[in-house]
């Protein structure tokens, strides 16, 4: 079953074509990572799929066109974590995670005991329940990233869109967050579509990769198929050595 399907997806921002007709398929339970140089359109494509930007073309989530999904239904189907989510001043971790229950709370209503229980379960699962009463701005980068994830998981959506979830983290915390996402994917049967800059790490975790350049898909497949010296030299304009590692290709930039 296809969780995310995009056909001829095009996005224009301020008159510029940023995403120029891409096709994308992500099966249910699959982890697909979109890579590409800066300005390739990765984040824009992700935001369009998440329903956050106007686009032309087709986007289907679990077989239903996003145009036919009410905003609340869409929010229960797909959850997005932006590259640098806004940290509301003074907001506590519990209240931030509870925002994820917004699509379940009727207009004029308030959180039910079930909403609170769902959020507490997510906070436990991400090991941030002990921070529940702390303000977001007092947390470290790694802790904060887990809280952002908890807000997305609280939405109860089966599809998770993550835009550069590890870009602000050191390599230890990068690995910790990616392992956590992998565990959640298995435990909760989530579909993961993310963007990433670190090619080696991206290849180690993703089932499949999509390489974007200038708004178009230029390569797609397993890490071994996409992370080739030719592909990277051509689209990143960089000299690299690709070495076979235990969990996929290791990409090493070499001085030209």
């Amino acid at each position: 079953m296809t969780a995310v399907l995009a056909r001829d997806l095009r996005v224009r921002l301020d008159g510029n074509v940023i995403v120029d007709g891409i096709d994308l398929d992500v099966s249910r339970g699959e982890w697909v990572t979109v890579i590409g140089p800066n300005g390739a359109g990765k984040s824009t494509a992700l935001r369009a799929i998440g329903g956050l930007l106007p686009f032309t073309g087709t986007v289907e989530l679990n077989g239903t066109s996003v145009d036919r999904l009410h905003r609340r239904e869409r929010a229960k189907t797909i959850a997005t974590v932006a590259q640098s989510p806004t940290v509301p001043p003074g907001m506590r971790v519990l209240d931030y995670a509870l925002l994820g229950r917004t699509p379940y709370i009727p207009p004029l209503g308030r959180e039910s005991a079930a909403d609170l229980a769902a959020v507490e379960e997510v906070l436990e699962s991400l090991d941030v329940a002990r921070f529940a009463g702390r303000r977001l701005e007092t947390l470290s980068g790694g802790e904060r990233q887990r809280v952002f994830l908890s807000r997305a998981l609280a939405q109860g959506a089966g599809i998770l869109l993550l835009d550069e979830p590890t870009s602000a983290l050191d390599i230890g915390h990068q690995q910790e967050v990616l392992e956590l996402i992998d565990r959640l994917r298995t435990e909760r049967g989530l579909t993961v579509l993310m963007t990433m800059h670190d090619l080696t790490t991206a290849g180690e975790y993703a089932d499949r990769m999509v390489l974007l350049a200038e708004g178009a898909v230029v390569a797609a497949g397993t890490a071994r198929e996409v992370l080739t010296e030719d592909n990277l030299a051509k689209h990143y304009r960089v000299r690299v050595r690709v070495i076979e590692g235990d969990h996929g290709p290791l990409v090493v930039p070499v001085r030209g």
């Binding site: 329903g51 932006a82 806004t86 509301p88 209240d95 925002l99 002990r130 921070f131 009463g133």
Partner: protein, 358 residues
């Protein structure tokens, strides 16, 4: 099964209006009400005032010990004035809190956004044009005044928003306020022009500009009441949406909200409330900054507590400010706008410093 340590998360309650704060707000309103009724040029015993207030409840007849003249002072002069102070203060504070949430700008306030100036232009236009038309000019403001004030308020907030947006995506809180200052100046110029053209109404316009709580009667209360109810219902209904909007429009959209729709609704409601307040009370500044920020500091950043508490404490604040205005200056009353500015201007500087440091 082994005993587990109860996680901290289980003991943390979600943000919202705490019963203690709500009780505090109601108590503040009651204190302001009794104090506002008891003190003035003729002092009335607070106990007798409280009993007379109870006598207003249908079916209650208690002996207050007040003379008929004192009861008349209480119910015909002071009560409408204090009730109007409570309504106007509550509305201005609620509108300020709503604007701060909508624009995600801690400095947003009905006056700084130019909304009050727009409403003022509307009121001046009605007073001037009514004087130009043949017929009697009664002491009471015409019922059409809030409508003209509302039109002026909406025009002002739209202009400020457009001008502030011209700064591009990287606009800071200060950009919007600068736009508000420019719009205020422009609308004030229009108001001055109207006043110049209709010098015969100068006195009436000035007495209104300095604050009309001094001449408040039940007529003013009845004019503002329906607008106050509509504003309060709409803004309070959006209190959770305002919390969600703090994460930004894109994420709020991802959470299933329609941020632009919520924003328009809140702007219209807050402008309606401001217009109603301005049309009966004149220009009273800083309530929309002082009260919501104090509530934010005391009760936390959630609009679910800031909004209802702003209504209660805003009302109490203005009723007490009015008490100060009519008692501190001896025989002559101090304009209430002067009293609120006296407290508000230093407060504004503190908020500005905090928001720049954030």
């Amino acid at each position: 099964m082994t005993a587990t340590v109860r996680p901290a998360g289980a003991t943390t309650r979600p943000a919202g209006l705490r019963a203690g704060w709500l009780a505090g707000g109601v108590a503040a309103v009651l204190v302001a009400l009794v104090a506002g009724l008891a003190f003035g040029s003729v002092a009335l015993p607070p106990g007798g005032v409280a009993v007379e207030l109870l006598n207003l409840v249908p079916g209650v007849h208690l002996h207050s010990g007040l003379t008929a003249r004192e009861v008349a002072i209480l119910t015909e002069l002071r009560l409408p004035r204090v009730v109007l102070g409570l309504l106007v203060g509550g509305l201005l504070a609620l509108a300020g809190a709503a604007y701060q949430g909508v624009f995600r700008n801690p400095l947003a306030d009905p006056h700084l956004l130019g909304v009050a100036a727009g409403a003022g232009l509307g009121v001046t236009a009605v007073i001037s044009l009514r004087a130009a038309a043949p017929g009697d000019a009664t002491a009471n403001l015409p019922v059409g005044v809030p409508v003209a004030a509302f039109a002026g308020a909406l025009l002002a907030v739209a202009l400020t928003w457009l001008l502030g947006a011209a700064g591009g995506r990287d606009r800071s809180p200060a950009t919007l306020i600068l736009a508000g200052v420019a719009v205020s100046s422009f609308l004030a110029a229009g108001q001055t022009y109207l006043m110049q053209q209709h010098v015969e109404t100068l006195r009436e316009v000035y007495s209104w500009l300095l604050g009309r709580l001094a001449t408040a009667g039940w007529h003013d209360v009845l004019i503002v009441l329906p607008y106050a109810v509509i504003t309060a219902v709409i803004v309070l209904a959006q209190r959770r949406e305002l919390d969600v909007l703090t994460v930004g429009d894109e994420e709020a959209t991802g959470l299933g909200l329609h941020p632009q729709r919520s924003r328009y609704l809140l702007i219209v409601a807050a402008s309606l409330g401001t217009a109603a307040a301005v049309s009966v009370s004149g220009l009273i500044g800083f309530v929309g900054i002082i009260v919501p920020h104090t509530m934010r500091l005391l009760a936390g950043p959630s609009y679910r507590s800031i909004l209802p508490l702003s209504v209660l404490f805003g009302g109490a604040f203005l009723a007490l400010a009015d008490l100060l205005a009519r008692t501190a200056g001896g025989q002559a009353e101090i304009p209430i706008g002067v009293v609120t500015a006296f407290f508000g201007a230093p407060f504004f500087i503190v908020v500005l410093r905090r928001s720049r440091g954030a």
